[in-house]
C-alpha cells in the first residue's frame, strides 16, 4: 500500500527537474471521494502510509491530528472534510501526502489525507481551463484550474489556499470556543 504509492510517485518526481523548458508542469493526481484531484508536484515532499495519528481534542473535524514525521510534529488535514464533505474513511490505500506550503517567510509541512495516490502527470498550461464559477461544490478560491486529461477534468488545487495556516488557525479559534461551551455541559 504505502510502499507502492511511494515508489510510483518517487520515480517521476526525480524527473520533474528535467522537464523545465516546456510550458507544462507536473502534477500529482490522487483520488478523494471518487473524484480526481491534482496538486503541483513542487509542493509535494513525500507520501507516507496512513497510521500512528494522534488526535488533537477540541479541533474542527477537518484537522485529523498530528503525526511524527522523523522527529517533527506535522498536522494532518482531512481534505474531504475541509471541502465541506464528510470525513475520509480510512482504507487500505489511504495515504498521507506531505506538502509544503509557504506562508509569509516560513514554510510549513502539512499532511493531507487522500483515498489513493494515482500518478504524476504533465499537464500543459494550454490544457488547463479556468474553474467554473460554481458547480464544483468546492470553494472557487481553492481551485487553481481544471486540467483536461484524456477528455476528463481533474481539479487542480490551489494548495496554498486550501492549507492556509492563517485561515485554519482562525477556524480553530472559533471552533475551540464552541467546543469549550460544549465541554462545559457535562460538567457541574
Amino acid at each position: 500500500m504505502g510502499q507502492i504509492s511511494t515508489s510510483s510517485a518517487a520515480a517521476p518526481t526525480g524527473g520533474a527537474l528535467a522537464v523545465h523548458d516546456a510550458p507544462s508542469q507536473q502534477y500529482l493526481t490522487f483520488s478523494l471521494g471518487g473524484e480526481m484531484f491534482a496538486v503541483g508536484i513542487l509542493n509535494v515532499k513525500e507520501i507516507i502510509e496512513y497510521g500512528h495519528l494522534t488526535e488533537i481534542p477540541m479541533m474542527p473535524t477537518f484537522i485529523r491530528g498530528v503525526i511524527n514525521l522523523r522527529g517533527s510534529v506535522v498536522p494532518v488535514i482531512d481534505l474531504s472534510a475541509r471541502f465541506g464533505g464528510k470525513s475520509t474513511e480510512v482504507s487500505r490505500r489511504t495515504c498521507i501526502v506531505i506538502v509544503e506550503v509557504a506562508d509569509d517567510d516560513t514554510r510549513h509541512d502539512i499532511g493531507i489525507i487522500v483515498d489513493a495516490v494515482s500518478e504524476v502527470l504533465d499537464i500543459p498550461a494550454s490544457e488547463i481551463e479556468p474553474p467554473p464559477s460554481f458547480g464544483a461544490r468546492i470553494r472557487a478560491d481553492f481551485i487553481f484550474g481544471m486540467g483536461k486529461i484524456a477528455g476528463k477534468f481533474v481539479i487542480i488545487l490551489n494548495i496554498g489556499k486550501v492549507l492556509s495556516v492563517d485561515e485554519i488557525a482562525m477556524l480553530t479559534s472559533t471552533e475551540g470556543l464552541s467546543a469549550d461551551s460544549a465541554a462545559g455541559t457535562p460538567l457541574g
Partner: protein, 744 residues
C-alpha cells in the same frame, strides 16, 4: 557575511556595550581614569577592527569619536553632561552602523547617514572649540606639547622614525630572511639603533628551528615617507606585525605603542628601552615637555610631579611606566579570562540541544523495549544509559544558560535617558545579576522588561515635587531583581513610586467595559486588570508609555515563554511586578498518563500527588481529599474521547497558581523526560494543550497545559451559570495560565 565580519560584528557589539557602560559610569565619577581609558580602548578596538575588515563608514565615524575621547583622556576637554550625552548618541549610531554592516548593506541608508552627519558636526564642533587642537583630525595628540618641545632649545631627538616589527612564524619557511629586510631598510636612511625582541622564543626543546620568533625595534633616520618604509616590508606584509611611528611622535604615541605591543611577559625596563623612549635626549625632552605641561592649566592633572618620575637606571616618564605596568596587569587579567571562556556559535549549541532531545526520545524508546524484553541485564544497562542521558541533557541545557546581568545593565541607559527626559531623578538598583537562565528566554524577556521599566519610570515614580510633598526622597528608585525559586526564575521590577490607584483602575475598567459596575472584585483582581488589552490609566499619552498597548503585550510575551506576570502594589509606596519564568523552553520533566490508547503528558512540577478512586460517578465534579473539596476535570469528557471509563480511575492532583484540581485519567504511566515539540501556528488558539512530544514508541503525545485547562473549565462553567459576567470571565481567563510557546 564572512567569518571575519561576523566576529567583528559580535565583538563590536560587546565593545559598544562596554563603552556605553563606561560612559554611564563616567557620568557618576568623571575623574575615573581607568574608565575613560576603557571607553577609549573600546572605541579604538572598534575602529581598528573596522579597518581590518575594510568597513570605512564605521572607521571614519569611530575615528572622530576616538578623537574626542582622546581629548577627554588627555584632559584637554572637560567631561560635561552634554558630551556624555553626545557620546552615548555616538554609541547608538555606531551600533546602527554595525547593524548595517551585519545586514550586509554596503552603505548605511540615507537617514542613518544624516544622523551620522549631524553627530559628526557636533563632534567636530566640540573638538574645534578646544584651543590647541584646532579641529585637527589627526590622532597625534598633545600637539601643544610638541610645540613646546620644539620651542625649547631644539635638541629634541625625535626626528627619527620608530619601527616595531614582529615577524610571523612562517616567514623563514616562506624563504624570507628577516635580516635582509633590515639591510634593505638601511638603504632608505640611517638605522640609529635596533633591539632584537626574542620574547616569543620558546624553550629550546619546543623551538622549531624553521620558525621565526623574532621581532625588532628599530630607530631609523630617513627622509622617506611612511609608505616607502612600509613598502620595505611588502613581501612579508601579511605575515608580520608592523607598527611605524613617525618622527615628532609624542609620549602618547609611545604609550599607545606599548599598549599595542604583542609581548606579554615583558620586563618593564626592557619594554621602555625597546620603545626608544629611553634615549637620553628624549628623556630630557620629555622632562621639558612635562615642565611645560605643568604650566598649561589644562594638562595639569596628568603631568606627574618630577619626584614621581621613576628612576630605573635611567629616567623615564611616569606615564610610560604606568602604561607599561597597566599593560602587564591587563595581560594577566586577559589571560585569565580567556582561559575561562570558549566562544561557540549559538547555532551549534541549538543543534546540540536538538540532538540531545532526539537522544532523550531514542533513549526512552530503548527503555521501553528493554522493559518489554524482560531481560534484567538489558533493563539495568538501559537504565544506566538513561541516567547518563539525563545528565547530558542537564549539562547541555546548562551550556545555554547565561547571566541576566547584561540584560539588566542595559537599563542603566534607559533609566538615565528617560529620567532626563521626564525631569525626574531616578536611580536604578540591580540585584541578582548573576542569576542564570536560558539564552532564548533572556533574548525574549528584554522587551517585556523594557515595557515594565519604562512604565515604572513614567507612571510609577512621581515628579520630584510630589515626592517631596509625600515625604519621600527626591530621588526615586527602580529596582531590578532576579532569583531562582524551585525550578523557575523570578524577575522583579519594583519602584518606590505612587503605586496603583485602585479606584482609578476600577473606573477605567468600567469605562472600557472590561468589568461591570456591580462586579465585586478582589484587590488583586483589580490591580491585575492593568494587563487587559486596551487598558491605560494615564490620561496623557506620552511617547514612553501610556498608549495602552504596553501591559497586555507584556503579558502576552511572557505567556509565550510559559511564564506568568502579576503585580502587587501598595498605594503611595510603590508597585512590584513579578515575572515567573521556566528555566528552559526545550525539555521538561513530564508525567505520562493515558486515556484509552491516547497518552498525555502533565508537567511534573505541577503534579502534587496521584490517587486512585473507584466508581467516580455522580453529578458533582469534586471529591473529598482529606477534608478539602477538590474539583476535578474529566479529560475523557472535555477531550470528547469515546468509550467507557474503567471501573478504577486515577486522579492526578495538580497545582497551578495556588489552585488545586484533579485530572481524571484511565491509567498512570510514570515519569517521562519530555522534549517539547511546538504544535505550530495552526494550533495557536488551542487552549489546554501546551505542545506535543514524541514518545519512545514514535507516537505523538500531547502536553497538557494545566493552568489553561483549569481556566477553560472554570470559564465554561462560569459562562453557563453567570451569564452576566461574560465579559470579565473572558478577559481574566488567561491571567494565570501557563502557555507553552507555539513556536520556538
Amino acid at each position: 557575511m564572512d567569518e571575519l565580519t561576523s566576529v567583528y560584528v559580535q565583538e563590536s557589539r560587546e565593545q559598544l556595550a562596554e563603552m556605553e557602560a563606561g560612559l554611564l559610569r563616567l557620568e557618576q565619577t568623571p575623574d575615573d581614569r581607568d574608565t575613560i581609558n576603557a571607553v577609549f580602548r573600546a572605541a579604538h578596538t572598534i575602529k581598528g577592527g573596522s579597518g581590518v575588515i575594510e568597513c570605512h563608514f564605521i572607521e571614519h565615524f569611530t575615528h572622530l569619536v576616538e578623537n574626542l575621547l582622546d581629548a577627554l583622556r588627555n584632559d584637554e576637554i572637560e567631561l560635561s553632561s552634554a558630551i556624555t550625552t553626545l557620546l552615548l548618541e555616538c554609541c547608538d549610531h555606531m551600533g546602527h552602523l554595525v547593524d548595517t554592516l551585519a545586514a550586509g548593506t554596503p552603505e548605511p541608508d540615507p537617514t542613518l547617514c544624516a544622523d551620522g552627519e549631524a553627530l559628526t558636526g557636533r563632534l567636530k564642533d566640540i573638538i574645534a572649540a578646544e584651543p590647541g587642537r584646532g579641529g585637527s583630525s589627526s590622532l597625534t595628540v598633545t600637539d601643544d606639547t610638541v610645540e613646546v618641545e620644539n620651542l625649547g632649545n631644539g635638541v629634541v631627538n625625535t626626528d627619527s622614525w620608530h619601527i616595531s616589527v614582529r615577524f610571523g612564524r612562517n616567514v623563514m619557511r616562506g624563504g624570507m630572511d628577516p635580516l635582509s629586510f633590515l639591510r634593505y631598510l638601511g638603504n632608505l636612511g640611517e638605522i640609529i639603533g635596533t633591539e632584537t625582541i626574542t620574547d616569543a622564543m620558546p624553550a629550546a626543546a619546543d623551538m622549531d628551528p624553521e620558525s621565526c620568533y623574532m621581532g625588532f625595534e628599530i630607530r631609523l633616520q630617513t627622509r622617506a615617507s611612511k609608505s616607502e618604509i612600509e613598502r620595505v616590508f611588502d613581501f612579508v606584509r601579511d605575515d608580520c606585525d608592523l607598527r611605524i611611528l613617525p618622527p615628532q611622535s609624542t609620549v602618547t604615541d609611545y604609550i599607545r605603542l606599548i599598549n599595542e605591543l604583542p609581548e606579554d611577559n615583558l620586563r618593564l625596563g626592557e619594554m621602555l628601552v625597546r620603545c626608544g623612549a629611553l634615549t637620553q635626549a628624549e628623556v630630557d625632552a620629555g622632562l621639558k615637555a612635562q615642565h611645560a605641561a605643568e604650566d598649561t592649566p589644562a594638562a595639569e592633572a596628568t603631568a606627574p610631579p618630577l619626584g614621581e618620575i621613576l628612576v630605573e637606571s635611567r629616567m623615564v616618564h611616569k606615564e610610560i611606566v604606568d602604561a607599561a605596568v597597566n599593560r602587564q596587569t591587563q595581560i594577566v587579567d586577559k589571560k585569565a579570562r580567556e582561559a575561562q571562556l570558549v566562544r561557540v556559535h549559538a547555532d551549534k549549541l541549538d543543534q546540540l540541544i536538538d540532538l540531545v532531545g532526539e537522544l532523550v526520545i531514542a533513549g526512552a524508546s530503548a527503555n521501553l523495549l528493554a522493559l518489554k524484553s524482560n531481560q534484567s541485564d538489558l533493563v539495568e544497562a538501559t537504565s544506566i544509559l538513561s541516567r547518563l542521558v539525563e545528565s547530558i541533557r542537564d549539562s547541555a541545557l546548562q551550556l545555554r544558560m547565561v547571566q541576566i546581568g547584561d540584560t539588566f545593565n542595559r537599563f542603566n541607559r534607559v533609566v538615565r535617558d528617560v529620567s532626563k527626559e521626564l525631569g525626574k531623578e531616578i536611580e536604578l538598583s540591580i540585584s541578582g545579576a548573576d542569576t542564570e537562565l536560558d539564552k532564548t528566554v533572556v533574548e525574549k524577556i528584554g522587551d517585556p522588561l523594557m515595557h515594565l521599566v519604562r512604565n515604572s519610570l513614567d507612571h510609577g515614580i512621581e515628579p520630584v515635587a510630589v515626592r517631596l510633598e509625600r515625604g519621600k526622597r527626591a530621588c526615586g528608585r527602580v529596582s531590578l531583581n532576579a532569583y531562582h525559586d524551585s525550578g523557575i526564575i523570578v524577575i522583579q521590577v519594583s519602584d518606590d513610586g505612587g503605586g496603583l490607584n485602585r479606584e482609578k483602575i476600577r473606573a477605567k475598567a468600567i469605562e472600557r467595559e472590561l468589568i461591570q459596575p456591580g462586579d465585586n472584585l478582589g484587590d488583586k483582581e483589580i490591580i491585575n486588570l492593568i494587563f487587559e488589552p486596551g487598558f491605560s490609566t494615564v490620561d496623557k499619552v506620552s511617547n514612553l508609555s501610556g498608549r495602552g498597548v504596553g501591559m497586555d503585550v507584556v503579558r502576552r510575551n511572557i505567556l509565550a515563554l510559559r511564564g506568568t506576570v502579576d503585580v502587587e502594589s501598595v498605594e503611595g509606596q510603590g508597585s512590584t511586578f513579578t515575572i515567573r519564568l521556566p528555566l528552559t523552553l526545550a525539555i521538561i520533566d513530564g508525567f505520562l498518563v493515558g486515556i484509552e490508547k491516547a497518552a498525555y503528558v502533565i508537567p511534573l512540577d505541577s503534579v502534587v500527588e496521584c490517587i486512585e478512586q473507584k466508581n467516580l460517578t455522580g453529578d458533582r465534579n469534586f471529591l473529598n481529599l482529606r477534608g478539602e473539596a477538590l474539583p476535578f476535570i474529566r479529560l475523557r469528557d472535555i477531550f470528547e474521547i469515546p468509550g467507557e471509563a474503567p471501573a478504577r480511575e486515577s486522579i492526578v492532583v495538580v497545582q497551578s497558581n495556588g489552585r488545586r484540581a484533579g485530572i481524571v485519567v484511565d491509567h498512570l504511566m510514570g515519569e517521562f523526560q519530555t522534549v517539547i515539540k511546538p504544535l505550530g501556528r495552526m494550533f495557536a488558539h488551542l487552549r489546554g494543550i501546551g505542545g506535543s512530544t514524541i514518545l519512545g514508541s514514535g507516537e505523538v503525545a500531547l502536553i497538557l497545559d494545566v493552568g489553561a485547562l483549569v481556566n477553560l473549565v472554570t470559564r465554561a462553567e462560569e459562562e453557563r451559570l453567570l451569564p452576566h459576567r461574560h465579559t470579565l470571565a473572558l478577559a481574566s481567563s488567561s491571567t494565570n495560565s501557563t502557555a507553552i510557546p507555539s513556536g520556538r
